[in-house]
Subunit: 211 residues, 3 copies
């Protein structure tokens, strides 16, 4: 089971790096920048989490994460047009959603196990892990980041991680089941947002319109 | 006295989050982004400080900071038009100044007590705490940050924290009085800058004009 | 020899801060912002490295780095027109290249000695140290950063640090010679890029042109 979760995590890392390169490619970047932005997007969020938790950054103990991110960035750079195909691009978005769901719950779990600022901080760290890498990428690539978008990306993470913390408090003995449930919940919500192209409704936006 | 300082600190956190949401609201953001940017602005500077000092981040031991930031962000989001009123907006600016003054001196004190890079580093960390959260917010929200503004925001912090370090070196026995004095100094200078809308004079700007 | 390396390092810090102020000056900044951006550019990369390695930030043990950065920033601010002279500006670029070469290999060495994620992570940390400060500066100053440029800046670092790791693995007994060789290699490659104004060739760029 741990092996399955680990393999799915690697698939997520792969998807993070690929979607990062595809997102930035239209700006005209070189292979080196593609690799740097791919790595940052793939492992940036988890790195911020580990630095905040003051534990060794996860990839220092297992460089596979970095190698997969490098490989994925190179593949996306070389086979750019392949990944821009509608079906493949969609597949990558869903794998990205799967990775986000997995890593968010893993991060919440990690903070929980470290007894770090319960009950709120594990949820925050789940969100940081899910969106941190993408925020750094968009900042470096001068793209509009997801906080300024109406796309529904992080709210599923907020809901899933909050539910997981609640379940951990109430039913600690079912933590494995809870993790599966909440990972699934995040993935389903995010997949629904991708599939139906959902965006934040007007009444949840600030009233002052952009000037 | 510590309780007073703690309560004033919470008022500062409240003001940081409110002014953050108000600053970003015209760009059109959703409630979730408002909360994230509110939290980052309120506790981001102190988090950078603690990571640099390699001590546990302050909010992991006291989640009140985060709850207040979340509450303030939601209130500012919901009651946006109320906070845009001239008098309330002014009040928030002064409370923000009070928070900046308090946290800057507290940070200098924290670095001093840890014997961290005396005498210069405590001043640097006071400045990082005061401006770090706002810099991250403005970067994420694609706003011109205060380093690129002529507004007088961080120079009072530089002066106050430097004076505090000087007083600590010369009169360590009066550290409580020094802290009060320097917090007051930062607040007064910042309040004067707000009240008279002061900006950096021409001769302290680079000569090359924007092209 | 260590003293020479230390002194050259300080020359590098000086050049980092000067080139930072010159790069940002056309945007119209005040003296305080010049100092902040100068310091961040000069020590930002090394700070990111030390936080990732979870060791005390290097300047907390030796404030000379910060003082030199402050001094250089003030000098560049005051004598702006002097540093914009073609010859002086060129000299600064070469000294910047020297600093980058020195700190990149020192960082790789530091990570290697800490046994941190061998063999890949030391190379990553060399790159982070070399480009981290400049990336933060460009983000804060709203400039196009080097990842989005076709300038050849970081690739020499990648090559030099990778070679250094290879040599460390194969010939650990010659680590002093390897360090000299790889520092020289990075400097030469970067100097060539400056001298001939080299940029990344088309076939190493993403095919989708900027829209």
């Amino acid at each position: 089971m741990d092996t399955l979760s680990y393999c799915l995590g690697m698939v997520g890392i792969f998807a993070f790096a690929v979607t990062a390169v595809l997102a930035v490619a239209p700006k005209g970047i070189d292979l080196f920048s593609a690799m740097v932005l791919g790595i940052i997007t793939a492992v940036g969020g988890g790195t911020l989490r580990d630095i905040t938790l003051d534990v060794p950054v996860f990839w220092s103990n297992d460089l596979t994460y970095i190698w997969v991110a490098i490989g994925a960035s190179i593949i996306a750079f070389v086979a750019e047009s392949f990944f821009y195909r509608k079906a493949i691009n969609s597949l990558m978005l869903y794998l990205d959603a799967l990775g986000v769901a997995l890593f968010a719950i893993q991060s919440t779990q990690k903070a929980w196990d470290l007894n770090f600022g319960l009950p709120l901080a594990p949820v925050l760290l789940g969100i940081i892990t899910a969106i941190g890498g993408g925020l750094i990428r968009d900042t470096l690539a001068e793209r509009k980041n997801l906080l300024m978008h109406r796309e529904i990306y992080a709210v599923p993470v907020l809901l899933g991680c909050s539910l997981y913390v609640l379940l951990q408090q109430q039913f600690p003995e079912f933590h494995f089941f809870s993790a599966m449930l909440c990972t699934g919940l995040i993935f389903m919500l995010r997949a629904a947002a991708i599939h139906w192209d959902l965006s934040v409704p007007d009444w949840l936006m600030t009233h002052t319109r952009p000037r």
